[in-house]
């Protein structure tokens, strides 16, 4: 792991929760959408907060794709879990949502759980297939 890879993982961690929070803020302005008015979901992207949230989520997507190109899926997802803590802080202090003690405990457990994974290798090493395997397949 080099600094460029850590930066990519930081991008995955930060862009997702901030983008989600902006979406939440925007969707609260849009109001509840019932199953009868599903097309309203498409119009929701005209809300500036939803639009800004989408831009940040595009940043998340670019970082995420880059990370997936050199690390396991089961490494990338937990490695970006610090975002949950950030999400809780945003929900509490920017959106003024109530976070109960149980939810805080849950967020802490999620974060510590994923800590296990990040202490291991980031990618599954696969043994190289010997050249004669390919030849054998070609001649069979």
């Amino acid at each position: 792991m080099n600094s460029r890879k850590y930066l990519v993982l930081a991008g995955v961690s930060v862009f997702a929760p901030v983008g989600d929070s902006l979406l939440s803020y925007g969707m609260k302005q849009v109001g509840n959408i019932s199953l009868k008015n599903i097309p309203d979901l498409l119009l929701a992207i005209t809300n500036p907060w939803v639009a800004l949230g989408i831009i940040l989520l595009l940043g998340f997507f670019a970082s995420y794709m880059t990370a997936l190109s050199w690390a396991d899926l089961t490494y990338v997802l937990p490695a970006s879990s610090l975002g949950y803590v950030l999400l809780a802080l945003i929900a509490r202090f920017a959106l003024h949502e109530h976070i109960s003690l149980m939810r805080w405990l849950g967020i802490a457990m999620v974060s510590s759980g994923v800590g296990f994974v990040t202490s291991g290798p980031e990618v599954t090493r696969r043994p190289r297939r010997p050249d004669n395997d390919t030849v054998a397949t070609e001649h069979s």
Partner: protein
């Protein structure tokens, strides 16, 4: 009371839709990106245009994006009914557990004890977050 129950039910239905579609999307995207290789290295060797063309021509990528689009609109639906601090972490954490199974089955990743232990911690965390 009933309105609150409907709101909760819609929130959890959205979470289920997010988990299933995003897990399918994650597996497809991961397979597509692994086929292309380290995007940073490929970009330095062949240029940004080459990387973009490889990504956009990948069937796994296109299918993955379609799944992610379903997941995204499920998220918007869920956020309009419930708190961001519940829908966001619950969907993402459950996705992590489902992803661990999917990654082992479909991507043949080495999901060792450390990774399973993490899945249990995450699952417990999700239950606590629902209170």
């Amino acid at each position: 009371m009933i309105k609150h129950a409907i709101s909760n039910l819609n929130g959890w239905l959205a979470i289920l839709a997010i988990v299933l579609s995003s897990s399918a999307g994650d597996v497809l995207l991961s397979r597509g990106m692994k086929q292309i290789g380290d995007l940073g290295k490929v970009r330095r060797k062949r240029g940004f245009g080459f990387v973009m063309s490889q990504i956009l021509r990948s069937r796994y990528f296109l299918l993955g994006v379609a799944c992610m689009a379903i997941s995204f609109y499920s998220l918007l639906f869920g956020l309009s009914w419930d708190d961001v601090s519940l829908v966001g972490p619950a969907a993402a954490s459950l996705s992590f557990v489902v992803n661990a199974f999917a990654a082992k089955m479909f991507l043949h990743e080495r999901v060792d004890g450390r990774r399973w232990a993490a899945a249990l911690f995450v699952a417990a965390g999700v239950v606590l977050m629902a209170f």
